[in-house]
């Protein structure tokens, strides 16, 4: 019986889709059967970030409206066995499905997958309502910035009001240099403000921008970011994993570089 997780944030552009793609990839690499559902109807991105945009024939709205079977709309990932995508429609908008329809769809998917991960759109309107309707638990993504944290707090309030009690925090794009100079909050600061439990910290890394542009998620590769995502996947599965010390890896080279700069 599958677990249904919604990845949400409130604020746009903080990394929901990137996180969804990488969690999916990571869990699949850990031999789970995963389906990623893009609920951002009209502004779909998950297919792009996974590099599967040229394979879309049917989408979520087709499945919900009965134009096709759900299995016909699923797209198998290029690289990972066990990873599937249910893309959103691009020519419709978020009023094309209702929360009840989402519940029915998700029930069907539960039978065949270990994890059903819903990529939620930004905002708190119909798209959000659709995405959380069938969720068992939520991952709230935020960057360590004031405006993002404010929106995350709103979202957490709404999740609690909709009886989603298992809510965990992912702090994305943590810039260690900025933190050191006192220009950015730490993950712990964010946790304090939002009063929910942390489940993952992903550092800012140019490699992520490259990976989303090329449609090749990097969870599970040997970069720090890749490891951070894998650790996050382990924690999603209930394991306890220590958080990476994001400063130390850079430390050695920074020190050498610093010597020369003086």
């Amino acid at each position: 019986m599958g677990e249904v997780i919604v990845v949400t944030s409130g604020k746009g552009g903080v990394g929901k889709t990137t996180t969804t793609a990488n969690i999916g990839t990571g869990l699949a690499k850990l031999n789970k059967k995963v389906v990623l559902v893009d609920t951002d109807i009209g502004l779909r991105n998950l297919d792009v970030v996974l590099g599967l945009e040229n394979r879309i024939v049917y989408n979520l709205v087709d499945a919900v409206e009965g134009n096709c079977k759900v299995s016909q709309a699923l797209i198998k990932d290029k690289k990972c066995d066990g990873l599937y995508l249910l893309p959103a429609a691009q020519t419709r908008d978020k009023d094309a499905v209702t929360p009840d329809q989402m519940k029915v769809l998700v029930e069907e998917l539960r039978k065949d997958f270990d994890y059903i991960i819903l990529d939620c759109p930004a905002g708190i309107e119909q798209g959000f309502k659709n995405a959380i309707a069938a969720a068992d638990r939520a991952l709230v993504v935020t960057t360590p910035e004031v405006s993002a944290v404010r929106d995350a707090d709103r979202i957490i309030g709404l999740l609690e009001a909709n009886d989603i009690k298992n809510v965990r925090l992912i702090v994305n794009r943590l810039n260690v240099e900025m933190v050191k100079h006192g220009n950015m909050m730490t993950a712990q600061d964010v946790v304090e403000v939002l009063s929910i439990d942390l489940i993952g910290v992903v550092p800012y890394d140019e490699k992520i921008v490259i990976s989303t542009n090329t449609g090749t998620p990097l969870a599970g590769d040997d970069s720090i970011v890749g490891q951070a995502y894998m650790n996050l996947c382990h924690r999603i599965m209930g394991e306890e994993v220590e958080y990476l010390d994001l400063e130390s890896k850079k430390g050695f080279f920074a020190k050498i570089g610093g010597l020369f700069n003086k």
Binding site: D153, N183, T186, D189
Partner: protein
């Protein structure tokens, strides 16, 4: 015949002009229609009804009056017809009916006034100083976009996040961090205060006074925690209270409690 039934309002009454030739029974439905259509136009007024155009019998007049009573809110106090006898009959009847209706209306008015008075008294009670011991307890934090209101004092076991607001007729006690907006003394009690374990709000209102937090200047960006203007452990519990016309923040300790006006009220 242009219109078999015509209703005209004149200075002190109403004229009902009826066709002289048609059978009365044919006119009845038309009269009904006419009054139905214009009911809202006439409202609830006392009028003298003058029936013109033909002679009407007692029975026919009765029927007309019934229609008017059914379909409109008009109060016919007298009838004028071409037959003085008919007039006389209705004079007394209508007088009596009018008197009864007047009494009913007086009773209703008196009842409403009494209710009104009661509500005003309750409102006065609310506006006045709230018994400091009358408080509502809320368990849980208030998040951004949420709000909580009470007419009494409020004891909150949790935080008020930035973007959230709490309102109380009395004082507010936040057993946690106050990072959002708090409005104490919402009905005008200037002795009310706002207390928190960590008092770092965006805005505080007490009755009609408003205080806002410091703007975050460049020096504030140094150091961690941009969202906070002070660190939790630095200051301990504090309270905001109106002193000399301004909202001031004081340490929340025994001396505050002893000198506080709000709590010394009965």
């Amino acid at each position: 015949m242009s219109q078999p039934v015509l209703i005209k309002g004149v200075k002190s009454g109403m004229v009902l002009r009826l066709d002289s030739e048609m059978y009365f029974d044919e006119l009845l439905p038309l009269i009904t229609e006419k009054f139905e259509a214009s009911a809202s136009f006439f409202g609830n007024v006392k009028v003298v009804l003058s029936i013109e155009g033909r002679k009407v019998s007692e029975e026919e007049t009765s029927k007309i009056l019934n229609i008017i009573r059914d379909k409109t809110r008009l109060r016919i106090v007298a009838v004028m017809t071409e037959d003085k006898d008919v007039e006389k009959t209705f004079d007394d009847k209508l007088h009596a009916i009018s008197a009864v209706e007047d009494k009913e209306l007086e009773k209703k008015a008196a009842k409403l006034e009494a209710e009104n008075k009661k509500l005003l008294e309750e409102l006065q009670e609310l506006k006045g100083p709230i018994n400091g011991r009358d408080a509502e307890i809320h368990i849980g934090s208030i998040r951004s976009g949420q709000s909580f209101e009470t007419s009494k004092s409020l004891i909150l076991l949790g935080d008020v996040k930035a973007g959230a607001e709490v309102t109380a007729g009395g004082s507010i006690f936040v057993m946690g961090s106050l990072l959002g907006n708090a409005n104490a003394g919402a009905y005008g009690d200037r002795s009310a205060f706002v207390m928190a374990l960590e008092l770092d709000p965006l805005q505080i209102r007490i009755a009609d006074s408003l205080a806002i937090s410091e703007d975050q200047g460049p020096s504030r960006l140094k150091g961690r925690g941009l969202v906070r203007t002070k660190k939790k452990t630095e200051f301990g519990p504090e309270a905001a209270e109106i002193t000399d016309g301004h909202i001031l923040i004081k340490k929340y300790d025994r001396s505050f409690l002893e000198n506080c006006k709000f709590l010394s009220q009965k």
